[in-house]
Amino acid sequence: MNATIGNEATGNTDDDVLLQVQDLVVEIPTRHGTLRPVDGVGFTIRRGEILGVVGESGAGKSITGAAIIGLLDRPAHIAGGSVTLAGTRIDGLSERELQRVRGARIGTVFQDPSTSLDPLKSIGDQLAETALAHLPISRGEARERALQALIDVGIPAAAERLDAWPHQFSGGMRQRVVIALALIAEPELVIADEPTTALDVSVQAQVLTLLRRLCTERGVGVMLVTHDMGVIAETTDRVAVLYAGRVAEIGPTRRVLTDAAHPYTRGLMGSTPDTSPARDIGDRLVQIPGAMPGLTAIPVGCAFHPRCPSAMSICAMREPPVTVLGDTAVRCWLHEDL
């Protein structure tokens, strides 16, 4: 996997590049052999930009996020590639150094707000301790910041709720608290792993809007991991489509959604209920036949070829290289000049 996917895609200068992931490989040694849930993933995120990372479950999205902040569960480990934050490499840092990156430079939002918060500590304490861990401030100042953080994420009656326990908040409120926790130490990047999947539909939009607003205001880059194309459409600037541990396609959201280059992306578009009036009523939900391969049975050649309606014989033999098409990059033989 020589070509780097993502960097050339926008053709902009490097000054704005916040996060650069190149050829990232994560391996898990198991009894049945070494698995590679992430096999050559690359993308960039600019300051203030929201990159969506989308794919079915098992595609390697969450593991990529975990690898970036060095929180892979043993025995998974980074086996190749690099992760660079604002010019400095952060993969391979010691645990101590990583602790300075996490929270202070990269904030995280996890999927399930009901399990993300320590049930035995007040949310004010959890906010304050995060601030204290990274900012040179006093306890009093930390508490003020905690209060301000709650106000920023829209918790009503923040002053009274500062000493409340997590279980006293509803799901949507808890996720707001989580976002507050992710941002309180003033990071440059936020990795949000399925931040709304566990929430009620009515609350999802609010949380996403909040996230988007806060990050744009503060110039914070966001890596938004999700399996929901609706979320991608609503919230992201650019999107990377993952399949079987590799990036299938990456580009501006608008372009990818309306004119996808990769057959898999087309398939995903087809399978999302489209409520926009432009589509004909009567379009059936297109389902991609088959399922994404498990890690022990990844096909030779292009990982998608068994399910691909446009597969050619070369697809079963060699993995396609990256092709750059203007501001999009795609990994597919269809676009490669043979």
Binding site: T30, R31, H32, T296, A297, P306, A316
Partner: protein, 323 residues
């Protein structure tokens, strides 16, 4: 992760891999794999089975018969290990005790007794527990409530206390002359009765689930005894947990028996088990005959430890959460 299916698509052709035979599958199964890769389990198994074998073969391999007073020579008493008896001149590998009994032989016979009692007690507990659990799960209603109530009450007390109590009562009920004769049986009874509860509980939950199934109702309609059917179908499902509980309780039974014997309320000195020997050994610590204490202690430790390790390993292997 489950092994790959036997049909693999490679390109356009389908390759069918023949299924290996039963024995070879057993060898490659998860349990066997785990065993082969767990040095602790292998060592524990070796130790355990060696001890068991030695105990079973005691009559054949013991150099002396320590319980036949005719063969004892009092002058041989207190011989240190690898020493020669002052009276008979025989070589005693592990020394002799105060009565001139060969420690090595006594350990072999003692271990035999301990194992017998332990296995019998666990067997009794298992049979009792499984049966009661089956009945409770199947019958439901007040039968179930009663059995479970008794189980709960018994569980509030540590098993050794229960064993002691039953022992005391049983002894009280027997006339003084037969107390010593019946000691072994009373031991088995009391240890067994103190251990049935876990078996019952486990089997009961499985039984409750199975009792609702169709084949049980069908058996009832046809007139066959549903309990027997239930038993036959239940047993394979419940084997795993019962086995794990069994190993844990075997270790506990061995330790409980040793404790009771040590306390003087178990195996009598005329047919001592390891616990009795240790009790005797303690008396001679200060006078320097350390071997009377050490060797039975080591044997007991090896026995209990190996059973515990095997039980631990078995529990890890059969634990669905860790897969």
């Amino acid at each position: 992760m489950p092994p790959t299916r036997s049909d693999d698509k490679v390109g356009d052709t389908t390759v069918t891999v023949p299924r290996p035979g039963r024995l070879s599958r057993a060898w490659q199964s998860d349990i066997a794999w785990s065993f082969r890769h767990s040095p602790v389990a292998i060592v524990a198994a070796i130790v355990f089975f060696t001890l068991v074998f030695a105990a079973l073969a005691a009559p054949l391999i013991a150099p002396h018969t320590p319980f036949d007073p005719a063969t004892l020579n009092l002058m041989d008493g207190f011989t240190p290990p690898m020493g020669e008896g002052l009276g008979s001149g025989s070589l005693y590998w592990l020394g002799t005790d105060d009565q001139g009994r060969d420690v090595f032989s006594t350990i072999l016979y003692g271990m035999r007794l301990s194992l017998m009692i332990g296995l019998a007690a666990v067997g009794f507990a298992a049979v009792l527990g499984v049966s009661l659990g089956l009945i409770a799960g199947y019958a439901g209603g007040w039968v179930d409530a009663l059995i479970m109530r008794i189980a709960d009450i018994q569980l509030t007390f540590p098993s050794i206390l229960v064993a002691l109590l039953i022992f005391g009562v049983a002894r009280g009920l027997l006339p003084p002359e037969s107390r010593e004769q019946m000691a072994v049986w009373v031991l088995i009874l009391s240890i067994g009765l103190s251990e049935w509860v876990q078996f019952a509980r486990t089997v009961r939950s499985s039984a409750m689930v199975e009792a609702k199934k169709d084949y049980v109702q069908a058996a009832r309609l046809v007139g066959r005894r549903p309990v027997a059917i239930l038993f036959r179908h239940l047993l394979p499902n419940v084997m795993g947990p019962v086995l794990v509980i069994g190993t844990i309780y075997l270790a506990l039974a061995i330790i409980t028996e040793a404790t009771l014997s040590f306390l003087g309320v178990g195996a009598p000195p005329t047919s001592p088990s390891l616990g009795t020997l240790i009790n005797i050994g303690q008396d001679y610590l200060f006078s320097g005959e350390w071997w009377i204490l050490l060797f039975p202690s080591l044997t007991l430790l090896a026995l209990a430890l190996s059973v515990n390790l095997l039980g631990d390993w078995l529990r890890d292997v059969l634990n669905p959460k860790l897969r």
